[in-house]
Symmetry: C4
Subunit: 278 residues, 4 copies
Amino acid sequence: MSRLMHEDSEGLSPWQAKINEIIFGADTFLGKLFDIVLIVAILLSVAAVLLESVDDIYDVYGRELLLIEWGFTLLFTVEYILRLVSVKQPLKYAKSFFGIVDLLSIIPTYLSLFLTGANSLLVIRILRILRLFRILKLVNYLGEAEFLIAAMRQSRRKILVFLYTVMTVVIIFGSIMYLVEGPENGFNSIPESIYWAIVTLTTVGYGDISPHTPVGKMIASAVMISGYAIIAVPTGIYAAELSQVMNKARDARACEGCGRTGHEETSLYCRFCGTKLD
Amino acid sequence: MSRLMHEDSEGLSPWQAKINEIIFGADTFLGKLFDIVLIVAILLSVAAVLLESVDDIYDVYGRELLLIEWGFTLLFTVEYILRLVSVKQPLKYAKSFFGIVDLLSIIPTYLSLFLTGANSLLVIRILRILRLFRILKLVNYLGEAEFLIAAMRQSRRKILVFLYTVMTVVIIFGSIMYLVEGPENGFNSIPESIYWAIVTLTTVGYGDISPHTPVGKMIASAVMISGYAIIAVPTGIYAAELSQVMNKARDARACEGCGRTGHEETSLYCRFCGTKLD
Amino acid sequence: MSRLMHEDSEGLSPWQAKINEIIFGADTFLGKLFDIVLIVAILLSVAAVLLESVDDIYDVYGRELLLIEWGFTLLFTVEYILRLVSVKQPLKYAKSFFGIVDLLSIIPTYLSLFLTGANSLLVIRILRILRLFRILKLVNYLGEAEFLIAAMRQSRRKILVFLYTVMTVVIIFGSIMYLVEGPENGFNSIPESIYWAIVTLTTVGYGDISPHTPVGKMIASAVMISGYAIIAVPTGIYAAELSQVMNKARDARACEGCGRTGHEETSLYCRFCGTKLD
Amino acid sequence: MSRLMHEDSEGLSPWQAKINEIIFGADTFLGKLFDIVLIVAILLSVAAVLLESVDDIYDVYGRELLLIEWGFTLLFTVEYILRLVSVKQPLKYAKSFFGIVDLLSIIPTYLSLFLTGANSLLVIRILRILRLFRILKLVNYLGEAEFLIAAMRQSRRKILVFLYTVMTVVIIFGSIMYLVEGPENGFNSIPESIYWAIVTLTTVGYGDISPHTPVGKMIASAVMISGYAIIAVPTGIYAAELSQVMNKARDARACEGCGRTGHEETSLYCRFCGTKLD
């Protein structure tokens, strides 16, 4: 998408086109330099937000970290404005995924003037790193990501059916445990018991709430072994779908001699009739 | 099933047929409206049950929530009676899955007059949402669910063999840990040690019971690594079965000779009668 | 194996053959009855051992449970002796898997006269239930179990390589954490730190030992995400092997017409050339 | 690699060649004996390091364990020097994987003279056991390991994309939880909240930090169920890749035309040059 913006620079004035080339492009030296500087700035600013939240560090370096945060925010604000003025359709950019992320990456600092703690939301800047994949020409990585996303899209419905099942199971088991264990054993309410059921079914098991009565322990055991069997379901779904997606990628080429598919990417000749493949 | 009931309305009086159409059907405007209102009512009534169990909320809104609960229960009671009188075979409906769920969805409120806390069981109403799949014509979702269920049915025996193995492992390891750790370290009895073994093998790990002696920790480590290896088994089973089920369904071709389906994509001849496939 | 013993009853005296038929066989009415009674007795005796270990129950029913335990042990002793005298090669039986399990199922009670708590080991009786599979003619279940075992045997070496890797990872990470966190944070010794690493890598996470220093938490995070990625390995191995075993089962029949394999179990005709299969 | 060193002993003096044969080789009786003694020495020395870190054992046997540690270190130092002098290119050996491991296996003891606790790092000696695979001619095991590594190499990119996703998820959820729960509930800083998110997403769940507010518990539930769904991804990737690697290796046929292998079982013609396969 950003590539389209870059190429589509005909209607821009010369200085707009130059800025566009540097900010959106990655083909010129300045374009590459800008992108690398940007990524370093993003990582440093996120690190600053993380460190600022640590009391011991804030007590000593609070002033410096605040300065850094404001510095990066002003920098990113200038960058955001430059992006807006250097594209032909500013609104289209502003509404795009990266446009929204870019905006959300500067708002929290200004918000923090009125709302304490809002600057923690600056970590959303980490999403801007996604540009990295474009810059470093990590096309192969994008290809792999597409595989993963295709398999996810195909298994979307199965996953939803699975999630409904999980929700039903935790609501019913949570309610039963609330009746069996009760507030005296930490199961204070049904929502909290449902929270316990989720913690147990997903095998996280904090131990902040755990059954104390023999009957409760028996039901909990049933939930755990169910969780153990249920965990097989999404994995099985995903593995099977991914296998199919990967196999389909092999079926793209059909042999001109015999019409059969199923050739590997590296194959030069049909493995059934020996005809040369394209 | 409910569709059958809907269509099979010939022997009913006009007003029975009308009610049947609205309550069981989803083809007319009133039928659709009724279904949507029903789903909203179910979700609201379940939410009320959940909120009622939270002490802080109950102290303030207890009276209102009780009113809501009784309101919905009376509504669902009327609906249940209407369902009974508007079908040709009331007993058949009453014995069906949804008939039982519909009944169980109203009983707990009446029970709560004699038995405190029984109304928590009202959460079973969540199962009524299953009707949603029919109403919203979510046939595709049902298809996906059938895939999952078919794979589960095929792996049923393997899962049972697996569960017997798990039970044997936890009983034997639980007993050994009871001997090694003993009541002074929280392993109060063999059943409780078995509970610990289940918590550990399923990788839930609450931490309410955990080994304290060096030997106990060594045995626990063995259980954990076993659990780690064992978790691979049901996932592997399910992934393999689901792959097969999905492959089988890939080709929906019916044989012209015998009409049977289930041929693989690469098949040229019917595997049942030998007729050439298209 | 036990079937062989049953059939091989030629050299036995009439009463020996009769006992053999009842105890080892499952074809006659008495043989079936004996087997069913035996299974009930095993389950009851294991239940008695479990209950005996619960203090509250022992205080009230201790005397009765002790009587039951001795009763079953004497019964199983008599049965063991009868098995020994009714087979042609008593030593062969005594050395077989079930022979050893049968013996281990009675010893703990006698041991408990000298060694308190030894009777907890009676739970090994649960292994005798394996006979159930033979008696109830659960051949299908045995078939499924064979699939699982075949896949396990094939992935044996991969699993061993995997286990060596896991052991190396936990020893090295355990030692590092011992240096980083130290006894003041619960990492009392390297073996205990290795125990922590196993608890973490297997995602059990009791929480009895957990990192307190920032560096320790960073290393722990690395271990957890590794564990997350590593858990994929045995599952992947097993799923892949099981798929192959299941596919191979389909390759057993070769078509007489074209020699190709890969037919499904239910196929009657070759799916490539249409020739009738055996 | 070490085999190459062994064979490449032409330019060495007779005594150098003899030492090389014993230390690097495993074909002669002395070579085998040396290797077995070495493995026993490694295991014993690692065990000594582990035991030394246990206070109770150190108090009683500290002196003996220190002696053993120094004994083994001197032994391994002599061995390291012998390895250096008996190869033609000492620097090449010193820079090789085993050369570095051999050096790291002796340094910590000398370091411990100046730096308390450094000797815990001696556990790195466990990596020397990797030689075991060569000595015991465990070629099959190496073959299996190669399978696992090949599948890992192929899924490398997918795993990296997956890890980036996980990192982004934990940073964003960690920051949100820091805002929602705050230091009063144990979420002291964003880095600590990210640590919590990792502990939760990987289903480890120590319970040292866990949400206390209703909103926090709802977000935590979302993280857990995500983790549950996300865990399917690397497993699915690995299972699918391993399946492909195993399928590819099924057929070891080399093409007569171009000598290349890697043909599928069903292939009739070489997929590289089109020559007919046997």
